[in-house]
């Protein structure tokens, strides 16, 4: 996934020491996944705003940066916090799905239409996947996006979202079940 040999942490340390080129490499590596992580949760306008805030927060924290965790975990932790702030600031408040023992997880509503349409090409299936993703509860969607976009492990997702490993496992399990069901595959 990485084009060059320097790890994210090394690049961040170089940036801390005044190498703005190291930041440009870091940004190039992570801008797409981070942007999509935000875009698929809150729409383009808010996503752009949050995306900028996340990176500027990282820039501001440059001077005091030390390697205490994986860079990606730190980056998505910042993004998660901004996202939660955004939810809290909205009229709807923090979604119920972020509760550790969210009751609605056990009762996942099925996709509209009992029989899913037959997606004859991959592109249409991908569009359907996006639509299903948007219908997922926020916490499940976030866990899945952190896995697919950022490539984080269970533990890293738990760290980034500030929750337990088991909670992350549950969120992922239910998210995949819902998507499989929506796409017409076996759960």
């Amino acid at each position: 996934m990485q084009a060059d040999n320097d790890t994210d942490e090394t690049l961040m340390l170089h940036y801390r020491d005044g190498d703005s080129g190291a930041f440009a490499r870091l940004y190039t590596r992570h801008k797409g996944p981070l942007y999509r992580y935000l875009l698929r949760q809150c729409g383009p306008v808010v996503a752009e705003e949050l995306f900028q805030e996340v990176w500027l927060k990282l820039v501001a924290a440059r001077a005091g940066y030390t390697v205490q965790a994986k860079f990606t975990t730190w980056l998505y932790r910042i993004a998660h916090n901004r996202l939660v702030d955004h939810y809290r600031a909205s009229a709807r408040g923090l979604p119920l799905s972020y509760a550790d023992d969210c009751p609605e997880w056990a009762h996942i509503p099925g996709p509209e239409g009992a029989q899913p349409e037959v997606w004859d090409d991959r592109r249409r299936q991908a569009e359907r996947l996006l639509a299903l993703l948007a219908e997922l509860p926020e916490a499940q969607r976030e866990a899945l996006l952190l896995k697919e976009e950022a490539g984080l492990s269970l533990e890293e997702i738990a760290q980034a979202t500030g929750t337990g490993r088991e909670t992350v496992k549950s969120r992922l399990r239910y998210a995949l079940a819902r998507l499989r069901q929506g796409l017409g595959g076996a759960s």
Binding site: L39, F51, L56
Partner: protein, 258 residues
Amino acid sequence: MNEQPDALHDEHLSALYRAIPQVEPPEWLDRRILLAAKATVQSSAPRPAAIVPKRRPSRWAVPLALAATVVLSVGVVRLVRESGELATAPSLESAQVVTSSASPANAEPSGASQALSAEEKAQPRAAASAPSPSAPATSPIISPSLAPPAPLADRLLPAESSARPADAKPTGSGQPPSFSRQMKETEKLDEAPARARKERSKTEEKQLFRNSPERWLREIAELRRQGETMKAEAEWLEFKRRYPHYPLDPSEADSNKR
């Protein structure tokens, strides 16, 4: 950890997800963030040495301002103190002025000391600071060796310069306006007692000859000789009221009856 790996990972779904067009942030957002990151690095970089001299004035500004304040304060305090001394000895200054205007030919400092009244002479400090012919006046506060150059001294020490014989004029051209005004006011204050003293001496003289009937009669006769009949008559009436039984010489009585 009893979960099977397949329950948390679906390769088919992952592949499908990766097939979704990979949306990227807009370019303007990229530029803005990269610019901000670069600017932060540049702003926190150590300043070049060329900027150091610019900061020097601000480093010296505080001590310089303090020194200037101290110098100004000392000057003002000295000026105020000198002005205070001038106000306590106004009679000396006016006496010098009166002397010089009354006898311009006799400008000797000894003449000035003669013009002083008895009570003024009684003031030892004023007498001590009076100018002498042999040496110019010096201030008891500042010795000549410590005194500043003349123009500065004239500005800061107006009392000293006015005490010098050459600068005896009350409104010298070199004096600041405030000092001239102060001197004029001092003169006005001195003129009133002088007028009062003159009036008092006239009254005292009158009182003196009225105490002696013979002298009073001579005064009346003198007034008549001078043609001041009304004044002589008034004095005569006053004489008769004061000394009703004074034995008059017949010729004197006749002249007064007339």
